[in-house]
Every structure is written in structure tokens, then in C-alpha cells.
Symmetry: C2
Subunit: 298 residues, 2 copies
């Protein structure tokens, strides 16, 4: 995918960031040293009218909601706690003040339950509506989750039935609770949010970890009406995709807190050797390649 | 100005940020507690094709340069040292890879002399080119400069002859050296960068500080060919506007380091009582109101 190549190019241009940076370009967040016990997490995600939403379909409040939620999801995917946001907003010159108010209502309403504070940003004129949220969060050093720790033999899991990104991409709950539950009690070897579809995001974990993967097509949990194809290749569902050793998964599934009213997790595949590539296996054992495609941001 | 009203509205909606936030919405950067001795500075500035640049006139490299420079200027205005950036980039779907490369060349070339590291961001599809840079920096607690400390009787200064924002807005050097020189050796009571013109930015200092001001029209230093009107009301010059007590100014102007090869500073006005408003005074003593207008981001 073009986007991945371009990001690789930027990474080379930018060079190695040096000591106080734990992780630079190439994960859901950048990771900086904060203090002895904690890392600072930092991400930004841009939403553009026409690419990520249509105003008439979405309405201003839901656009604001999504702009906050995709960023919160980035912090969740690293195992952290979101704390602050800046909002850069580009709006058409004639826009009503109440529309701008509704955008911020959507943003602030999504931030409030997590006690995330809006503390600055920018507002400029733009023909098409564009929102870029920058988010800061914190994660305890021993709870940091990255894309790069998956090991051969680990199982691949997902936080919930994949939702229809085409219909529900504006109105999802970032899987913050699930991520904090997992990283607080279990050893999660890698994690990512499925913003671009299971196929592409599993590939991202695999290339960061130097492994391959096998997805069991029948095991992917789908919400009513969603096709496997869209779950794999459309994205915008924002569930968390993660890997754990089989022993850890066994512990997880016998967790009482989980069985009673906790979040639900689903095994959908297995981490394999790098040379085995990216495979999709059905119940009859037929093997297909997991295609290299996903949500087209670019 | 509409932008100021809207920002006031957002500030009300967002509410008080609470303890770990030293300054939220309403200065050049948000300010967070970092450690015993330092604050974390955080800002984002969005540039949109058509509003802030035209691609044909500017070229991709200079657009990248400006995107980095306006953010570095925000950190300078708070007395700090810029350290890291994230870049969110929206580009048309057919754009050449080399054009994207040139944007990052401009960004990285501007960051390099200051040892600022690019550590992440986002890249998406957008009809019009849009860049939002988010920047993190650090400032020693006793060196933090804000908009809110100007006192009646203080003098108003600027870091250099005002340049022609219409022509040079893509290619300016953020006044980082000047700000660090000042905050390291002198008591600066307030500071802002003149992104939107002296009139509007002086007004911002005044409303944050609860004072009025008097600008001496003949004292405003202009680069060759620039009209006073554009210096006051057009902006995009990115000099730093700041206030100091008369005693501090006297010390500053007798500073040997400054007289030999240091930066140059110019007195352009005086801080007055709030009730005296915003005035423009010429050499004959004629008084005009400093108009409430500036660069139209919105």
C-alpha cells in the first residue's frame, strides 16, 4: 500500500530520533520518556471532509466525536491513559458559529468520560472541513504496548465483533477500558487498533515484529450484516487487535472478572514464522493470502 | 475579530483544565507541568492551501518550511526550547511522491539547526493540501513567558524590523535565539509572536494582561518597502512582540553582548491603563485608535 511506503520514506528522511525518544515514527503513538515510571504518549490523526466523512451524512457533532475517538483509540492501542488534546480546525469561511460549537460539543462529549482536557489548538479557514487532533497520554513503563512484540506461536485476538466501518465509523467507543484491563493483568505481546482493517493492521504488527500470521476466516467475529471481506479490508471499526502467548490467553479466558461482566475477546488467528507470510485459512483448511489492502486514507 | 470570539467560546465550552495544566487555551502554547524545574510547552498550527499559501507560488519545500517555522515561533514566544514535532499531512490523491518528499525536506531542514526531531504524525487524502504540525518543547519555570504579565508603564518592544508578510511569510527564521537571549538574562513581562500583525497581537497581550497600549507609529521599524499599515494589520512577519519595565529595557540596551553582534530590539510603544484603550500615536502627538483587525486566518 502506498501509505506504508510513504511512511517508510519519511522515517528514513527523519532519521533516528535519539535517546529521550523510546519510539518514533511507526506505531500508533510516539513514545517519550516522561519520568522514572512513565512514558509520555503522543499522537495526531487528521480527518478530512470527503475522505473520512461527509458533513450532510455525519452532522457536526459526530464529526467532532470521531476526531476525538480516533485519537483516544491510538492511546488505547499503546496501553495508555489519554489526558490532553489540542484541536486544529479548518472551516469554510461562512460557517455558522453554532456548527463550530457542535464540532466542539462532539469532541468534548467524547473526552469528558475519560477526563481528557482540551487545552489549545488552532482555527483557520479551509474550503473543506478538516480536523486534526493531537493527543497526549501517559503509560506506565511496564504497561506500554507496541506493534513489535508478537512472537511465533502467539495467538491473535480482537476486542469485539468487528463493526461495519462504513456505517458506524462516526460513532464508536474507543477500546480504552479493554486495553487497560489487558495491560494491567496480562502480558500482551503486541497491540494495534484496526483503523484500516484486520488484514492491513495485522500486517503492520507482523512487519514491526518480524513474523507472519494466519487468520482463521470463520473465527473473525462479525456484527450482524457485515461481510468478512469488509472486516478484513475496509477498516474504520477501531477494535483492538493484539497478540498473547497461549498460556496468557488461557489465563485470560479463565478470568472471573471477564466471565461475569467484563469485555469480550475473540481468538482469530496465530502468529507464524515470517517466511510463512500472511495467510487466511478457512475451516476446510484452504489457504489464501491475506491481501495487502485496507482503508484508503490516501 | 470573529476568531477571537470563537476562541473565547471554545474556552468556555472546554472549561477549566485543572491542576497539572499551567495554561490552557489562550496563549501561543499550552503549558503543562513537566518536572520540578520545567514546563512542557505544546502547540499546533494548521496551514491550508488557499488560506496560508498557494502551491505554485510557494513550492512544496517552502510550505514545509513554513509549517515547521510557525510552530517553532510559538515555542519561542513562550521562552522555550522546541524539541519534537508530529506532522499531520493531507495531500491530493494523485500527488507525486517527490512532492511529499519535498514537503518533509522543508520541515526537516527547518528543524535540524534546532535539533528538533520529527517522531510521528498522520498522512491522509485531501483535495487541498493541508499541514498541521504539533510541537512539544520545554521551558524552565522561571523562563516561561506568557501574554498576561504586561504592566502599565512597561515598554513595548519588537525583535526586528517588520518584514513584508505578503512576500516573506514562507521564508522566515523563527526568533528563537532572541527569545532565549531575553528570557535568560532579563525580566520580560509578556511576549507573543506577531503572526497576525502588531495591532491584533498587541491587543492580545493587552486583553490577557488587563492593560491598554500606545504604539508610536514612527517607531515601528519597517523593512524596505513595507507600509506601516501592513506592519500593523497584515501580519505573517513572525517577529516577537514583548514588554519589559523601563529599568529592564535600560539594562538590555546597555548589554555589551547585544551591542557587539547580538540580536536587535526596537521600542515601539508603551503599556497604558486599560481604560486608555488601544492607541496609535504619531510624532505630532495625534492619537488614532489601533484598529481591531489583522491577518484573516478565518
Amino acid at each position: 500500500v502506498k501509505e506504508l511506503e510513504i511512511i517508510e520514506g519519511i522515517k528514513k528522511q527523519a532519521g533516528k530520533p535519539g535517546k529521550p525518544v523510546a519510539i518514533g515514527i511507526g506505531d500508533d503513538c510516539a513514545v517519550l520518556y516522561k519520568d522514572k515510571k512513565n512514558y509520555l504518549l503522543w499522537a495526531s490523526d487528521m480527518l478530512v471532509e470527503g475522505t473520512h466523512f461527509k458533513i450532510k451524512e455525519a452532522g457536526y457533532k459526530k464529526i467532532g466525536k470521531k476526531a476525538a475517538a480516533v485519537n483516544i483509540s491510538d492511546i488505547a492501542a499503546m496501553g495508555g491513559v489519554p489526558e490532553y488534546i489540542l484541536v486544529s480546525l479548518g472551516v469554510p469561511s461562512g460557517i455558522k458559529k453554532s456548527f463550530i460549537g457542535n464540532i466542539y460539543k462532539g469532541i468534548l462529549g467524547t473526552c469528558k468520560p475519560h477526563e481528557i482536557k482540551l487545552i489549545g489548538g488552532d482555527i483557520v479557514r479551509s474550503k473543506k472541513l478538516v480536523i486534526d487532533v493531537s493527543i497526549l497520554g501517559t503509560v506506565e513503563k511496564n504497561k506500554l504496548l507496541t506493534r513489535s512484540g508478537a512472537k511465533k506461536g502467539d495467538l491473535i485476538l480482537i476486542t469485539g465483533p468487528v463493526r461495519d466501518g462504513k456505517k458506524e465509523h462516526l460513532d464508536f467507543r474507543p477500546r480504552l477500558k479493554e486495553a487497560r484491563f489487558l495491560t494491567g493483568k496480562y502480558k500482551v505481546s503486541s497491540m494495534i487498533d484496526t483503523s484500516d482493517g484486520i488484514a492491513l493492521d495485522a500486517r503492520r504488527i507482523c512487519s514491526a515484529s518480524g513474523v507472519g500470521c494466519k487468520i482463521y476466516s470463520e473465527a473473525v467475529p462479525l456484527t450482524r450484516g457485515l461481510s468478512l471481506n469488509d472486516a478484513l479490508y475496509f477498516g474504520e471499526s477501531f477494535e483492538l487487535l493484539f497478540t498473547m502467548s497461549a498460556t496468557q490467553v488461557q489465563k485470560l479466558f479463565s478470568d472471573k472478572a471477564l466471565r461475569q461482566k467484563g469485555p469480550s475477546f475473540f481468538i482469530i488467528g496465530e502468529v507464524t514464522h515470517k517466511k510463512d507470510g500472511f495467510r487466511l485459512v478457512n475451516k476446510n483448511g484452504q489457504i489464501n493470502t491475506l491481501k495487502k489492502k485496507g482503508f484508503k486514507h490516501l
